[in-house]
Every structure is written in structure tokens, then in C-alpha cells.
Subunit: 294 residues, 2 copies
């Protein structure tokens, strides 16, 4: 019984696919197939219901995955910890975070982190949906605010988040400067569509009341940088996390409007499952990026 076989099993559960799991583990699908078959034979239990098009864990497979996930994490952490005694912190950190947080809080500091921690491997998956980082096998995630599952530790990363509505001066001169959020209905708004298909609503605070507007407009993008670019080109108004627009605002290519209506949004938070022993790589990762955000 090899440790890596059990890791492979968990990878199949996570991906719901032999091939995808094989890619992650750097094996061929055939090898994985044999590994799982050997495991099933050993345990005398069928672990997956396979139709050629989908791989779904059986009840037994689901149970095994839930039991094995924390135990294997413990073992990995133990080995990493001992490895870190002699030399530098080592191990792997798998992070799950939405694009804006990655763009402004993580990626800019990544080169320095990797340089100063040569024995740590980092894996970053961009994902805006709320995933269960434990079930999906992540070590750490980033989310807005504090609504965390229990047994999670959350640390505020960076200042409170600010969204800005921006447009090019030319566009605003031509189409008119909106005075209130309601005026937006007369203008072209650049919309943001999530992979899930929903349109990102624009939220404002008027007095004591929070309102949400579903923006109307001819351009829909799925990436904040594209929205900023389009706004700069005078196509319409964009609403993005402030840092995306900062550069163009300073250089006068964009103007911020309606800022007295922008609601105060909670800051980004790093969060991770509270465990008996934190892997040293994760400890180094969190320490570094918490300090970098200050």
C-alpha cells in the first residue's frame, strides 16, 4: 500500500475523472486505472461507479475519501515538518482564490516568495465560486468577508475592498455625468459575466439603504482588465475593484464617478482549516503574504 496510491485515489474523487486525475498526478490514465483496481481488490469493495462518461464514488469510496483526506494531510504535514528541520521550509501549497485577490495581493509578491523559499512549490487555482477548500484538497483560500465555515481560521489580508465606477472623460462629456446610481440606466454599462453565467450586479449605498442594479449595456466581458480597457476606450462605464482602475485614474484616462455611493465592502481574507499541526510550507506562505499585504 503506497501513500501515492491513496493520493491518486483522492485525485480521482476530486476530479471525477481518471484522465484528469492522471494528468494532475503525472501518470497515464491506464496506470491510474490499474492502481484503483488494485485498491478495490485489496479492500474487496467497489470504490467508483464508472460509466464510460462519468466516474462517481460509491458510498464506500465516498467514505474512504472523507476519512483519508485529513489523515493523508497529516502525513504530508508530518513529513514536510521533518524535512523543514534540517533546511528551509518545504512542501506544497495549493491555493484557491478569485482573480482580483490574486491579481493584487498574491501574484505581485509571488516571485519574491518563490525566490526566498526555494523548497516550496505553489499551486494557484483561480476560482470565483465558493468551494469547500477541505473537500477539494486546498491548503488555503481567499474570500471576501468573514462568512467562513466553522473550523476555519480567517486573517484579513490588505485594506477594505473598494469598487469604483469609472468612465473615460470623453465618454462622460459626450453622454452626460450621472449624479445618482439610477442615472446609470441611461448609459452604456460594461457588464461582467461570471463563468456560472450570472451578471455581476452593481451595488451601491444610498443613505442607509443598499441597492443592487443589474447593469444594462452592449458589452459583456468576463475579465476586469478587459472592462477597464473598454472603458478607457470610451465604450461605456465599468465597475471594477479599485486597484484595476488605479493606474488609468492617475493618468487621467479614466474618471471615477458616483464614489459617494460606493458601499464599504469587507476586506479580503486568507482562510485555512484549523488543524493540529500546520504544514510548515503553509505557515511560511501565510506569514509571507500577510506581511506583504501590509
Amino acid at each position: 500500500m503506497r501513500q501515492s496510491d491513496l493520493e491518486s485515489f483522492l485525485a480521482v474523487v476530486r476530479h471525477g475523472s481518471f484522465r484528469a486525475a492522471a494528468r494532475e498526478r503525472g501518470l497515464t490514465g491506464s496506470a491510474l486505472s490499474q492502481t484503483i483496481r488494485a485498491l478495490e481488490e485489496d479492500l474487496q469493495v467497489r470504490l467508483f461507479n464508472r460509466t464510460t462518461r462519468s466516474v462517481v464514488p460509491t458510498e464506500a469510496g465516498d467514505l474512504l475519501a472523507r476519512r483519508l483526506t485529513p489523515a493523508l494531510a497529516d502525513i504530508r504535514a508530518s513529513l514536510d515538518e521533518v524535512r523543514s528541520i534540517g533546511g528551509r521550509p518545504s512542501g506544497r501549497v495549493r491555493m484557491n482564490a478569485p482573480a482580483p485577490a490574486l491579481d493584487w495581493l498574491i501574484v505581485p509578491h509571488l516571485p519574491e516568495f518563490l525566490r526566498s523559499h526555494p523548497d516550496i512549490a505553489v499551486e494557484i487555482i483561480e476560482d470565483a465560486s465558493n468551494v469547500d477548500i477541505v473537500a477539494e484538497g486546498y491548503d488555503v483560500g481567499i474570500r471576501l468577508g468573514l462568512e467562513m465555515a466553522q473550523d476555519m481560521i480567517a486573517l484579513p489580508l490588505g485594506p477594505e475592498q473598494d469598487y469604483a465606477v469609472v468612465g473615460s472623460p470623453e465618454y462622460l462629456e459626450r453622454e452626460g455625468w450621472p449624479e445618482t446610481p439610477q442615472d446609470l440606466t441611461l448609459l452604456d454599462c460594461i457588464r461582467h459575466r461570471f463563468p456560472s453565467g450570472t451578471i455581476f450586479p452593481w451595488r451601491f449605498r444610498i443613505g442607509e439603504e443598499d441597492i443592487a442594479i443589474v447593469p444594462q449595456g452592449r458589452l459583456t466581458v468576463s475579465n476586469a482588465r478587459h472592462a477597464v480597457e473598454a472603458a478607457t476606450a470610451g465604450i461605456g462605464l465599468a465597475r471594477v475593484a479599485l486597484p484595476y482602475a488605479q493606474g488609468d485614474l492617475r493618468q487621467g484616462r479614466l474618471v471615477r464617478i458616483l464614489d459617494r455611493f460606493s458601499p464599504q465592502l469587507p476586506a479580503w481574507h486568507l482562510y485555512y482549516p484549523s488543524r493540529r499541526h500546520m504544514p510548515p510550507a503553509l505557515r511560511a506562505f501565510i506569514d509571507f503574504f500577510m506581511k506583504a499585504a501590509r
Copy 2:
């Protein structure tokens, strides 16, 4: 990284010897030596300080062993649990217990247990000293009374323990019937020596006071059965757990004396570490022997 390699590592820590660990794992010492060396190379840390005469874990080795022990137990339990879904409870139970408890509470029922649980392997180590069952890698132990380490669950097994002083009728007629524990100094007591070298003291309760007498006599044994046999042969008086003498008492070959002075001793207790998920083999083992003791 194989699971069995880590188990082997723990075996070396437990035994403090490559050879002994190799015997337990069914390998040659050579294989174990290579396994440990590969592990050390991988972790870039020396795990043992070897002098040819002793193998002592380094600080790193000790840390790894403490971290790995519960994690590997979790994995073993997870696999056993899944194995038990399709068929019968399966796995291995390692028990540590003193000889009298084994003789009267475990061994008599072992054949039936093994017959009714064909997929469970049982390993029984007779040991009178108080060992740390977690550190030594046992699943369950038996001890008198309730002074347990924390995080241990203790279940009373069988009735309260009773020790009896016995002698043959001929011997007592010849040498005189003692009326009080103090009278024993005039007679030949058959002594019991523990492996540690200490002589088992004879405890009595006089009124409200507990006293201990170090018995004097010409015969010293290390096994209660031998003491009973010698007493039956008229060599002297023996003090043993009541069940050892029961048969000879009924048949008149032995007579119990001083029984109004015998102290009430606590019952035997099964104890085991409290864990999130109990291995199914252990659950079956405990259920069976608790029921058998009634």
C-alpha cells in the same frame, strides 16, 4: 513513499533495534536498513543515532514518530473500515495485558472470537508493567482499576478482583492455621517475583487499615500457576488471584485462609485511546470480550 515504509520506521522506533523491527515486519534487517536510509535521504534529516549496539531516534526521528503514529493509525482504521463494509469486520488488534487478566478474561474466549471473526488478526503481548499503549503501538490494554492516562476510555471487565491466601489442608494441620496476617511470618510463604525483580507484596485489610507484608519463604516463582501447584503439594502458602485457586478449592486440595482480611481490589478494565473513528476490528474485539465477561 510507501505506507509500509513509514510503519517500518515506527517499528524501529518502538523496538530501538533494526533486527527486532525487521522480525516484526517480516523483513531482513538489510531491507529495513535500506528503507530507513532512503527515508532519511528523502527527508534530508538523520532519523536515528546508530551505534552498533543501540538505535536511538534523533530529535527529528522522535518528532516524526509522534506525528506519524496517530496519522497512520487513522489510515489503517479508514482502510479497515472500508474493508469491513462489504464483508466482515477486518483488521488487526494488538493487545497488551498482564498474565492473570489474559488467563481468565481473554484466552478462554479467544477461540470463539477468532472463529466468529475470520478476518481479524489478534496479537497479544503479556506484560505486567504499565506501558503507554499509544506510544508502543497497541490498540487496547487491560489494567486493574481506573488510574488511566487522559484521553483513555476504560470499561470494567468482569467482577471485582479477589486475591486469596491458600494452603493444602495437610500443610495447615501440620504447621498451624494462621489467625491473622501477622501469623504468616511463622510459615512458609510461596513468593512471586516479577520480571522487574521485585517480590509481590501480600496486601491485607485489618479493620480500616491496609497493610502490606513481604512474604518470607524458601520457594519463589514467577507464575501464579506454579505457586498454586506448589501449595497443593503442601510446600507452603500461596497468595494468588482467586480464579487460579478456584478449582483446587472446590476439590478440597486447597483451603482458603485469612479471607476476612483480604482487601477489595478494583476490577480489571479494558482501556483504549479515544479516537475519532474506532477501527472496526477493535470495536468488534471490545464488544465481544465485554459481552463474554458478563
